[in-house]
């Protein structure tokens, strides 16, 4: 069985003014089905950059990113979008919900995009899984940060993806709410055997994952327990 995610010798640099900043240099990563991997590292070390490569929202300068055996650099934009909507769920630090859609509409959106007909029902079920069925018709502006992030988690999970990419999902939340949200995320991933790449500052959260990696000088190294 091939890994759900495989990164080989990925490099990424940005032009900042006159000089080039190398953010990732020859990074390797493999994540198996159902595996939870935490990525740690100081601010500005390139964690978010790595996630955007994994999501296919940006492309590496060199090296390859494979999702479920598909090399993202070898497919066109339509196929990339398709891969993203079928295999991936993304949870952002800032939730990025649609302001003018209700909670249930937000959750159903990925299904609507691919043209699923029973999106409303499935969205309701997903919302129930994160314990927010009573908030279905509320707009994001009417909900707390923790509730918004739970809606975002439901949205990432509604398509039953193989891999969730989460960028500091509790970073904008207080300790207690953050823990609640993370519990939900961990439980649902386990329940549906979904792999998880979790970017975090928090060692405790990292310890709840199967593996912890440290992003340092553009590459990942294993963190001993």
């Amino acid at each position: 069985m091939h890994p759900i995610l495989k990164v080989h010798q990925a490099c990424k640099s940005f032009q900042q003014g006159n000089h080039k900043v190398k953010v990732l240099e020859g990074l390797d990563l493999e994540v198996n089905k159902g595996e939870k991997v935490a990525i740690l590292g100081p601010s500005g070390c390139g964690k978010s950059t790595l996630l955007s490569l994994l999501a296919g929202l940006d492309s590496p300068g060199s090296g390859t990113v494979e999702i479920d055996g598909t090399d993202l650099s070898k497919i066109n934009e339509d196929q990339l979008s398709q891969t993203r909507s079928q295999k991936l769920g993304i949870v952002f630090q800032q939730y990025h919900l649609m302001r003018n859609l209700t909670a249930v509409e937000n959750v159903g959106l990925p299904l609507e995009i691919v043209g699923t007909s029973d999106f409303a029902e499935r969205a309701r079920t997903a919302l129930k899984e994160v314990g927010l069925d009573h908030r279905a018709t509320h707009f994001p502006s009417e909900m707390s940060g923790g509730e918004c992030q739970r809606v975002a988690i439901a949205r990432a999970l509604v398509t039953r993806p193989s891999l969730i990419l989460a960028d500091e999902p509790s970073g904008n939340l207080d300790q207690k709410t953050g823990d609640e949200v993370m519990d939900i995320l961990f439980n649902l991933c386990r329940e549906h055997t979904i792999s998880l790449v979790l970017v975090t500052h928090n060692r405790e959260l990292a310890d709840r994952c199967d593996r912890s990696l440290l992003l340092k000088e553009g590459a990942l190294e294993d963190l001993a327990r």
Binding site: S48, T49, L51, S52, A55, L57, D58, E77, D78, S81, Q82, R84, S85, Q86, L88, I90, F92, Q93, Q94, H96, L97, M98, R99, N100, L101, E105, L109, P110, E112, I113, V114, G115, R155, T159, D167
Partner: protein
């Protein structure tokens, strides 16, 4: 598709104020556009009708001799089968009243049906079209102008001697249309039916008379094309072809100037409205970029995102065009009445289906064209920025953005060409418009940059204002362009008003342009008329003698002689032409020319 529709609708539902102002802005521009377009069209149809009335037909051929059967056949061959025809003959002759007093009159002998366009306004019979005067052709009747009545000392019902026949005066003419080739005639007209023309025995071999053959084409046929075809088929210098357009050329010129001017003004108004709406859309789109990025991160393609916006613009265009055409349909009849009241001539203004179609096309097309620069942002969207904490996802800046305004400008040029009567005017207008646009743009770009440097050490509020102008370039530029163009337009209005006024002689400061003309004053009447008018406070100005002459010698040789000589030299065709050469001419003089 259904997702795109749903999403487009949701977004519009939640951005009501944007939708409202976008549509309102566009609708206002469109209303101006439709009103002027409708006004222009009704003026054009008015001019068309009036010029048809001047000629009395759509097409006519006219010669100073009898038009041969052969030529008429040739003409018929070029025209559609349903074409109606009528003949008319006009010539000068002496006519005598019952007292034996005789005067020069212009006899016009007409066929039933004449005129095809326009009417006779008769003192007794009222207004009659060509089809309503059948009785006139049944008997030896004549309609005369009141002048002839006075000159001949003849009363209604009495007989007028024309050559060897007598015609009973059946009515007096107040106004008549058709065959109006010259603005004035030397002698009052006398109309008779052509059926009885032979009875007069006035036209014999070599008599001088104009023969006109009038044609009425089936409805909705382009007269100009057939006119040209006719001219080509006849190919004779003696037989001239007239289209109603030529006849009405002068009458329509001024109205066309006016409508051209209004059209172009309305186009600028439309442009400004589009600029406003385009700017609103730009803001709306910029605001939406993070959500677009989110949509892409959820598995939508950029194409889907783009389609959502195109659909929204389409719907908004409809929202703008619907109330605009509705408002115009309600307002225009009233406007027509107002114009009629002001100008004293009946102008009906209505919204044609062409106008409505054009409005919708412009509303939706302009949305897309103006949004092009904004929409190109969607193509350059960077959803990776969703992961960045501090930045709102946007798109890579691009220098090519300005180029994307090009299709919009080209479309505007096309509209200018379509709306103005003359291509030259449209091009000059567009050139000036583009020139000022570029000038204003350059001014703004450098002005704002300079302002930032200049006011860098000023008071905080000024410094911040200058900086904000320099940094929020899109907004500042749009605002500046809109105001600048508006000001240019406002200065253009009095300019054109002045030009038009000069052309019509409206605001002639010396007031020495005549508004009334008196013709055919005889020498012995002059003094009496002059002193009478002087007493009335409106003295006669510019009394000009007018003498009709006849060529007697040509290059020092008696005219008949020079003719005979040519006969020996040239081919029969030229001989014939020579025989019909116009020997008469009008002579006039004046001591000095007027300024106008």
């Amino acid at each position: 598709m259904s997702f795109i529709l749903r999403q487009a609708w949701r977004e519009m539902r939640n951005s009501r104020s944007f939708c409202f102002f976008y549509s309102l802005n566009l609708a206002l521009g469109l209303i101006g556009f439709v009103v002027v377009d409708a006004f222009r069209e009704s003026i054009e149809s008015k001019v068309r009708n009036e010029s048809k009335e001047l000629l009395g037909a759509d097409l006519a051929i006219r010669a100073r001799r009898v038009i041969t059967e052969e030529e008429i056949k040739q003409a018929r061959n070029t025209l559609p089968v349903e074409t109606r025809e009528a003949k008319a003959v006009d010539f000068f002759s002496m006519a005598a009243g019952p007292t034996g007093r005789s005067r020069l009159v212009k006899v016009v002998a007409i066929d039933p049906g004449f005129p095809f366009h326009g009417t006779f306004k008769l003192e007794k019979g009222g207004e009659k079209s060509g089809n309503e005067i059948k009785l006139f052709h049944e008997d030896r009747l004549a309609w005369i102008y009141p002048e002839a009545r006075a000159q001949l000392g003849i009363k209604m019902g009495e007989k007028l001697q024309l050559g060897e026949a007598k015609f009973r005066i059946a009515d007096l003419i107040e106004e008549e249309t058709g065959l109006t080739f010259q603005p004035t005639d030397l002698a009052p007209k006398v109309f008779i039916s052509r059926k009885f023309l032979d009875h007069t025995n006035l036209l014999g071999e070599g008599s001088l008379a104009y023969h006109t053959h009038l044609f009425q084409l089936p409805q909705g046929i382009d007269t100009d094309t057939f006119g040209r075809g006719l001219e080509k088929a006849l190919n004779s210098p003696e037989v001239r072809t007239y289209t109603h357009r030529q006849a009405g050329h002068r009458a329509g010129r001024l109205l066309r100037y006016l409508s051209d001017f209004l059209s172009l003004v309305s186009l600028v108004a439309l442009f400004l409205a589009c600029l406003g709406s385009g700017f609103l859309f730009h803001g709306f789109l910029t605001h939406r970029m993070p959500e677009l990025a989110t949509l892409v991160s959820l598995g939508a393609t950029r194409r889907t995102a783009l389609r959502i916006f195109l659909l929204q613009l389409f719907l908004l265009g409809i929202f703008a065009a619907l109330p605009a055409t509705l408002a115009c349909s309600l307002l225009l009849p009233g406007l027509g009445g107002m114009i009629s009241e002001m100008t004293g001539s009946k102008v009906e203004v209505w919204v044609s289906s062409r106008s409505i179609l054009l409005t919708f096309a412009v509303a939706m097309g302009s949305g897309w064209l103006l949004a092009l620069p904004a929409l190109s942002k969607v193509r350059r969207l960077r959803p990776a920025e969703l992961f960045q904490e501090a930045v709102r996802p946007g798109s890579k800046p691009s220098r090519m953005n300005l180029l994307l305004a090009l299709p919009g400008l080209l479309a505007f040029w096309g509209l200018c060409l379509a709306q103005a009567h003359s291509d030259k005017l449209a091009n000059v207008f567009f050139g000036c418009f583009l020139g000022s646009l570029i000038l204003l743009y350059i001014l703004a770009r450098f002005g704002f940059g300079l302002g930032e440097k200049l006011f860098g050490k000023s008071r905080l509020s000024i410094r911040l204002a200058a900086r904000s102008l320099a940094r929020n370039r899109a907004g500042a530029l749009t605002g500046f362009l809109a105001i600048g163009l508006g000001v240019l337009l406002i200065t253009l209005i009095p300019q054109t008003h002045h030009g038009l006024g000069k052309e019509i002689g409206l605001d002639d400061p010396t007031g020495d342009l005549p508004s009334l003309f008196l013709f055919d004053l005889q020498e012995e009447q002059l003094n009496a008329v002059q002193s009478l008018l002087e007493k009335e406070g409106t003295p006669l100005a510019n009394i000009t003698p007018w003498i009709r002459g006849k060529i007697k010698t040509l290059k020092g040789m008696a005219y008949e002689k020079s003719q005979r000589q040519e006969e020996e030299l040239n081919n029969p065709d030229e001989q014939r032409r020579n025989a019909f050469r116009n020997r008469s001419f009008n002579l006039s003089y004046r001591e000095k020319l007027l300024g106008k």
